[in-house]
C-alpha cells in the first residue's frame, strides 16, 4: 500500500534520513523503532509532506505522492497522530474532531465518522464541549487519534502514542490500536518503547542514525542481538 524508496530527507542541506526504504502492506501494522534522533519523526513528517525529500520516492497504492502537499496527502488518507498530540488547546473536543475531518474527502461523511469515533472513545463523548487544553494527557491522546480517524485515515501513522502516559492509559491506547488494526486499518507505529511495539506490530524496522539497521518480523527483531545495540545507539 505504501512504499518508500531510497528516501533522503534533511533540513538546511544536512540529510537526517539517509536512503531509507520501507514498505507497508494493506491492513498491516508495522513498527518503526529507534533511539532518539534516529529519524523516526522526520520519516513520519516526510510521509505527511511536511518536509520535501532531497531524493527518493514515496508511492501510495502505486502512485507517486512524493511531490504532493500535506493537504493532498491527508486527502488521500495518509494521516498522522503527531508526537506530543498537538490538539488545539483552546477549542472544544467537538471542534477538534470536526477539524480532523476538514479535508475535502472526509467532510461529507463527518457526522457518521464522528459517531464512529465517539463509539470508540466514549470518554470523548462526555467531554465534547470541553476545551481540549483541559483534558488529561491520556484523553488528549484519545482525542488526537480520534481526530486522525475523522480524516478517514487509510494509513494511520502514530508518533510515540505512549509518550508521557500512565501505564494504564498506554494499555488502553494500544488496545485501541489493536482494535483499529482488527478493523482493517493500515498502521505505522513509531515508538521508543521496544517491548510494547514488538508485542503489537507484525513487522518492524529499526532506524539507526537515519538508516534502516534491521528489518523483519517482530519475533526475529526481538531475538536479533543487533536490536539492542542499534536501540541504545551503540
Amino acid at each position: 500500500m505504501l512504499e518508500i524508496e531510497h528516501l533522503v530527507t534533511g533540513y538546511g542541506g544536512v540529510p537526517v534520513l539517509q536512503d531509507v526504504s520501507l514498505t507497508l502492506a494493506a491492513g498491516e501494522i508495522v513498527g518503526l523503532l529507534g533511539a532518539n534522533n534516529a529519524g523516526k519523526t522526520t520519516l513520519i513528517n516526510s510521509l505527511s509532506g511536511v518536509y520535501a525529500p532531497m531524493s527518493g520516492r514515496i508511492l501510495f497504492e502505486g502512485a507517486d505522492v512524493t511531490a504532493l502537499t500535506p493537504r493532498e496527502r491527508v486527502e488521500l488518507g495518509i494521516v498522522q497522530v503527531p508526537e506530543g498530540r498537538l490538539v488545539f488547546p483552546d477549542m472544544s473536543v467537538r471542534e477538534n474532531l470536526l477539524l480532523g475531518g476538514i479535508n475535502r474527502r472526509a467532510r461529507p461523511g463527518r457526522a457518521r465518522q464522528m459517531e464512529h469515533v465517539l463509539e470508540l472513545f466514549p470518554r470523548m463523548k462526555e467531554r465534547l464541549s470541553q476545551d481540549a487544553g483541559t483534558l488529561s494527557g491520556g484523553e488528549q491522546q484519545m482525542l488526537a487519534i480520534g481526530r486522525a480517524l475523522m480524516a478517514e485515515a487509510r494509513i494511520l501513522m502514530l508518533d510515540e502514542p505512549s509518550l508521557g502516559l500512565s501505564p494504564l492509559f498506554v494499555q488502553y491506547i494500544f488496545g485501541i490500536i489493536d482494535k483499529l488494526h482488527a478493523e482493517g486499518l493500515t498502521i505505522l507505529l513509531v515508538e521508543q518503547n521496544l517491548n510494547l511495539t514488538l508485542r503489537h506490530a507484525q513487522r518492524c524496522y529499526v532506524l539507526e542514525r537515519g538508516r534502516v539497521a534491521i528489518e523483519g518480523p517482530a519475533d526475529a527483531i526481538k531475538n536479533d542481538p543487533r536490536t539492542r545495540s542499534a536501540y541504545l545507539g551503540l
Binding site: 488545539f88 477549542m91 476538514i102 479535508n103
Partner: protein, 288 residues
C-alpha cells in the same frame, strides 16, 4: 451630566469602529504573526476609493463598499501572497520594516493620484442628527456603531461555527498541527489577510462621512489600531472590541473634559500604562 452622557455616547459610537479596525489586525496577527504597519494606509486607500467612486459615479460611500470591499480584498491577497509570505520565517522586525515601506508606498501612491488637499466625500445621511433625550448623535456615527457590532458578531460566529473560521483558529493555535489536518496554512493566511483588508474597506466607509480625508492620515489610524489591538491582548476577540471602546471613550472624554492637547494625549497615556502593567491586555483569558 448631559455632557458626560454626550461624551460617553460619542466614545462608544466611535470606539466600536476602532474595535472593528483592530479585529482585522488581530486576526491577521493571530494566523501569521504579521503586524501590519500599513494598516491605516489601507483604511486611507479605502476612503479614497470611496471618494473616487463618488467623483466618478456620485456613489454614496455606503453603496461604494459593494465595489471597494472586493477590490481591497484582492489587493490584500496579492500583498500577502507576494510581499509578506516570502518573509515568513524571517524575524518579526523585517516584517515591521517591510510594512513600513508598504505604508510609504500606499500613502504616497494616494498622494500622487489625489493630491494633498483635504477632501470630503458627502453622504446622504452626513448631516442628519439623532436626538435621544439630551444626547445628540450624528447618524453616520450611529450607523458605524450598528454595522461595526453587527460585523464583529458576524465574525465571531464565523470563527466559531464555520470550517473556515475553525481553520483560522486552528492555524492560530498550532499551524503545524493545522497543516497535518490537511488545512492549507498558506491559503488560510492569505484569505485571513484579505478578510482583514476587506473589513478595513467597510470601516473606511463607516468613518468617511463628515471626515476630511488626507493621504497622510493613515499613520494615525495605524497607531490607534495598534493601541486597541494591544489593549485587547492581540488575538482576544472580546478584548479587542473592549479595547476599541476604551480608546474611543478616553478620546471623547479627553477632548471634552481636558484641554485639547491633554485630551489627545489621554489615549496614549492609557495605552502606555496598560502596556506596562497589564501587558497581556484588558481581559482575563476570555474567549478565543
Amino acid at each position: 451630566m448631559a455632557e458626560f452622557l454626550q461624551a460617553l455616547t460619542q466614545g462608544l459610537l466611535i470606539g466600536s469602529t476602532y474595535g472593528l479596525l483592530a479585529l482585522g489586525m488581530g486576526l491577521v496577527y493571530g494566523v501569521s504573526g504579521v503586524v501590519n504597519f500599513a494598516h491605516g494606509d489601507f483604511i486611507a486607500l479605502g476612503m479614497f476609493m470611496c471618494l473616487a467612486l463618488y467623483s466618478a459615479l456620485s456613489l454614496d460611500p455606503y453603496v461604494s463598499i459593494i465595489i471597494t470591499v472586493p477590490v481591497m480584498m484582492g489587493i490584500g491577497a496579492l500583498v500577502y501572497r507576494y510581499l509578506l509570505r516570502p518573509m515568513v520565517g524571517y524575524k518579526f522586525l523585517m516584517i515591521v520594516q517591510l510594512t513600513l515601506g508598504l505604508s510609504l508606498v500606499l500613502q504616497n501612491g494616494i498622494l500622487m493620484v489625489f493630491g494633498g488637499q483635504p477632501a470630503r466625500t458627502p453622504s446622504a445621511v452626513e448631516s442628519k442628527l439623532w436626538i435621544l433625550g439630551e444626547v445628540v448623535m450624528r447618524v453616520p456615527h450611529v450607523i458605524a456603531f450598528v454595522v461595526s457590532f453587527a460585523l464583529a458578531i458576524g465574525l465571531y460566529v464565523m470563527l466559531r461555527s464555520t470550517d473556515f473560521g475553525r481553520s483560522i483558529r486552528a492555524v492560530h493555535q498550532n499551524a503545524h498541527a493545522a497543516s497535518l489536518m490537511g488545512i492549507d496554512v498558506g491559503r488560510v493566511q492569505v484569505l485571513t489577510f484579505a478578510l482583514g483588508i476587506g473589513i478595513l474597506a467597510i470601516a473606511a466607509a463607516l468613518l468617511l462621512p463628515g471626515t476630511p480625508i488626507q493621504p497622510t492620515m493613515g499613520l494615525r489610524y495605524t497607531v490607534i489600531t495598534l493601541l486597541v489591538v494591544v489593549l485587547g491582548g492581540m488575538t482576544n476577540f472580546v478584548g479587542i472590541m473592549l479595547g476599541g471602546l476604551v480608546i474611543g471613550i478616553s478620546e471623547a472624554f479627553g477632548t471634552i473634559y481636558l484641554s485639547d492637547i491633554l485630551g489627545m494625549l489621554l489615549p496614549y497615556g492609557i495605552f502606555v500604562l496598560i502596556m506596562l502593567f497589564r501587558p497581556q491586555g484588558l481581559t482575563w483569558g476570555a474567549a478565543r
